[in-house]
Amino acid sequence: MGMFDKFKNLFQKDQKEEAEHYHIGLEKTRKEFTSKLNLLTLKHNRIDDSYYEELEDILIQADIGVNTVMQFIDQLKDRVKKENILNASDLKEVIVDEMFIIYVQNQIIVNKINYSENGPTVILFVGVNGVGKTTTIGKLAYQMTSQGKKVLLIAGDTFRAGAVEQLVEWGNRVCCDVVSKLEADPASVIYDGLEKAKNENYDVVLIDTAGRLQNKVNLMNELDKINKVIGKIIPGAPHETLLVIDATTGQNGISQAKSFQEITNITGIVLTKLDGTAKGGIVLAIKDSVGIPVKFVGLGEQKDDLRVFDIEKYIYGLFEEMDVEK
């Protein structure tokens, strides 16, 4: 498994506890996915068209994205031919390997936050409505304060009813200061917040924004404006712009990634709600077609339900029970 080994080492191993937590969240996902793959192997001892067809169904059900799935199957077929793989059980490892290659390509993917060298590090959160932006900010703030950082939250969603109160409540919960302003436009709250962050030496600033559908031109322009304001107050900021995507999202995720990428420089994705039955496979299609990697995953509604994304765990975790259930 040449490619696989090579990339394996690029990822930093997490603590055991973290790995376990991640796996608990993914368990439902993994069971269905892997047991299906096992059934497939048991059913077909030869690799024929009906094998590929069923594999295609499994991948499509995981929302991996039609184009990516087609491309994946083609590559798999090529490899089966080249390496003269004859029976289905030998193919399982290759499947994992090829999925890995689709995600990683030949890049080095860094999942760490890009901290600013001097002055506060600014992280902007964007995404469509209801995906989990505000909650993710709460969770990340908790993680960072636990690491001893001085974190400031800015309530940049001045549109949705109750949005400011929601972030303020998260601020209380994780002991972070929150800058908010009623009946203001987002740019002006953000201005105030960033000034405060500079003057009072905060390490990290997390900015919430209103959910917006990517086809709304006015709202997307507003985001552009927000970005410019940030860059003006703190040159080089935002240091990270994270696009939050709900794991239940289907093919529209690709459109989300493309449109937000056009307006802001998205540096990573947060994949939320992976504790449900959704597989979030659209992130593989997004990486494949738009090139944005996943940085974090959300595994629940509590403050400690955020994990650093690890593609190896994500894919390999999906398949690792393959041999057990035989």
Binding site: D57, R160, G162, D246, T248, G250, Q251
Partner: protein, 435 residues
């Protein structure tokens, strides 16, 4: 972006025209395109299989073989089949009861709170009766605040008891509604995963305690293949009476609708189309079918156009178009009609083939419209009837007369040509042209 099905089918159809008849081979070529388009629309993969089989069967029938336009006939089969799966007729809410109670449930972030406020607003408008909103999301931070703010905005009272037990809040709310003469009780519940046993049990208890007339599942229209698990999960615990499909003002195709309707027979009753409080509409299967297929929401365009456009002139124009002798004179007249339609970009984007012609990104400025008018008005009757005769010297004259540049005159003529191409695509449909 992906080519949409409308465009894909047009390609295959023109091929079939070349063959002159429909064969098993070109049917499987077409069904392959449809399969991809449906999967890209997030239609459940099992439904896609079944659907393709049905379409194949029907297309190989005699009717299609005999038809003069097998390609068009095929498209019609596809659309009818889809409308069928979406549940032909629209279904109304059951709001009889004293008071009638409605419970909204769903995953986190699907849009329950916004939807319930919109629904209260819609019911009050439609039936002229008194709704009461009830805040039973005691888990998400500030969820109660959110509902209270919406209630204040709409001037609809909100019943709340803070973060108490949701089942008893719901029960108290009904007593309160009876005592105070409310006609509808609308209960907002916390978002939850369908696999969260504890929280699902809470909903079951609430259901048993209050016996609501309607239990509506609120589901995000951007949901992918997981939709079926979500719907089945909620349906098996709560016997849903309907569903609301939210965020359809986005650019999702909304194939999840098929999973709801076809796999569980739960009717979709409403769709959410904006963040504003009037952004809830009744569900029309026909329109949803066109949307899933990506053939442009023709029905909506036609309807919208009909409301404002002078019928007769539209029909006249449509007829001329069909004969292929639509000229600049007609264009001018329709330009005037279009001005009444509102933002033109929205209309153009919905047209089939628009993205292929690069028209989906156009921004149309009312000023530009005025310039177009000026240019056409500077043409002679003869020129308007037959733009082909407009050559260099005429162009210079027209430019001078209208105060625009020759370049702009050229652009208009080119655009008019493109428009004719687009019109051809409408030629055989039964719909009227909006311009």
């Amino acid at each position: 972006m992906f080519e949409n099905l409308g465009e894909r089918l047009q390609n295959v159809m023109s091929k079939i025209k070349g063959y002159g008849k429909i064969t098993e081979e070109n049917i499987s070529e077409m069904t392959r395109e449809i399969r991809l388009a449906l999967l890209e629309a997030d239609v459940n993969y099992k439904v896609v299989k079944e659907f393709i089989e049905n379409v194949k069967q029907k297309s190989l029938g005699e009717e299609v073989a005999k038809s003069l336009k097998p390609g068009e006939m095929f498209v019609k089969i596809v659309k009818d089949e889809l409308v069928d799966l979406l549940g032909g007729e629209k279904q109304d809410l059951n709001v009889i009861g004293n008071p009638a109670t409605l419970m909204l449930v769903g995953l986190q972030g699907s849009g329950k709170t916004t939807t319930i406020a919109k629904l209260a607003n819609l019911l009050r408008k439609k039936y002229k009766k008194k709704p009461l909103l009830v805040a039973c999301d005691v888990y998400r931070p500030a969820a109660i605040d959110q509902l209270k703010q919406l209630g204040r905005e709409l001037n609809i009272p909100v019943y709340e008891e803070g973060k108490e037990d949701p089942v008893s809040i719901a029960t108290h709310a009904i007593t309160y509604a009876k005592q105070n003469g409310y006609d509808y009780v609308l209960i907002d519940t916390a978002g939850r995963l369908h696999v969260d046993e504890e929280l699902m049990q809470e909903l079951k208890n609430m259901n048993q305690a209050i016996h609501p007339q309607e239990v509506l599942l609120v589901i995000d229209s951007m949901t992918g293949q997981d939709a079926i698990h979500v719907i089945e999960g909620f349906h098996s615990s709560l016997q849903l009476t309907g569903a609301v499909l939210t965020k359809l003002d986005g650019d999702t195709r909304g194939g999840a609708a098929l999973s709801i309707r076809h796999l569980t027979h739960v009717p979709i009753k409403f769709i959410g189309v904006s963040e504003k409080m009037d952004g809830l509409e009744e569900f029309y299967p026909e329109r949803m079918a066109t949307r899933i297929l990506g053939m442009g929401d023709l029905m909506s365009i036609v309807e919208k156009a009909e409301q404002v456009i002078d019928e007769e002139s539209a029909i006249k124009a449509a007829k001329k178009m069909q004969k292929g002798n639509f000229d600049l004179e007609d264009f001018l007249e329709q330009l005037n009609q279009i001005k009444k339609l509102g933002p033109l970009e929205n209309i153009i984007k919905m047209l089939p083939g628009a993205s292929k012609l690069g028209l989906n990104k156009v921004q149309i400025n009312p000023k530009d419209m005025a310039h177009l008018e000026a240019i056409i008005q500077s043409m002679t009757k003869e020129e308007r009837k037959d733009p082909f005769i407009i050559k260099a010297s005429r162009k210079i004259r027209i430019a001078k007369g209208s105060g625009r540049s020759v370049e702009e005159v050229n652009r208009l003529l080119k655009q008019f040509d493109q428009m004719k191409v687009m019109m051809k695509q409408f030629k055989n449909g039964k719909m009227k042209m909006p311009f």
